[in-house]
Symmetry: C2
Subunit: 160 residues, 2 copies
Amino acid sequence: MTTPELFAKSALLNWEQAIGRATAFFDKLPDESLFQNIAPGKNRVIYLLGHLAAVHDHMLPLLNIGERHYPHLDELFISNPDNLDATLPEGRELRKAWKDINEYITNCLRDWSPEEWLQRHTAVSPEDFEKEPHRNRFTLVLSRARHVDYHLGQLILVKK
Amino acid sequence: MTTPELFAKSALLNWEQAIGRATAFFDKLPDESLFQNIAPGKNRVIYLLGHLAAVHDHMLPLLNIGERHYPHLDELFISNPDNLDATLPEGRELRKAWKDINEYITNCLRDWSPEEWLQRHTAVSPEDFEKEPHRNRFTLVLSRARHVDYHLGQLILVKK
């Protein structure tokens, strides 16, 4: 394996590990626990599940790998804080969205050459990317993997 | 910048961002808040500060960049859970350990060539590394950056 290939392969494994751990957490969690708060007065588990699914759905246009699959999640899980009065999608539907979107992204990452990992992400203009080539898809994936762990650290506080 | 150099540079920025955010959190936190629990019955902030410092101190031998600076932290912050009866180091001392150890590591990372990033970490034997070259220093640094975010997600729950 060449040096660039090894970087790409290692980054893929880092992403898969973050996704795998969070998915294992959600898989083990019974539906009724989705409505627990991670701490008193803080987000419910179901909000974080929807939030993570919506944020990863945003990765499709950002990574330039397709149109969004679940844009309707934004209103409830990104634009607004957790709200007890809101009517949320069923847990089953959110669990499915989380898995589907990650499967889609991971399949794309597996196909990328090292150079494709380092392409511009679409939140950066071509002009800015000329000056700041580190604002690439690789950095975005690393950042989203850290974001998964950020919320996993919170989710783990919930009683099972 | 070559493809391998860009991977290395982007990974360095990812590390610096994770460390920077956690350090900013600790810098803003008054000393008295160090003794708050992140959630009822869960770890105190000071435990997580010591834990993060100790885990990063372990990175020195793992990355083969030197002897440990703060091995005495293990007993309190890695080998044992948070314990209200334990006599902890002062907050000032732990804040300093956290900054010093990260400064040391970051300076090393800045000097690494792409190939140096991909060297074996010392928890893997040379024989296993032959078969699994992704068990390298790059992967270890990515994993520790996610670990910082994991605990930062918990720390952020504390009232300031």
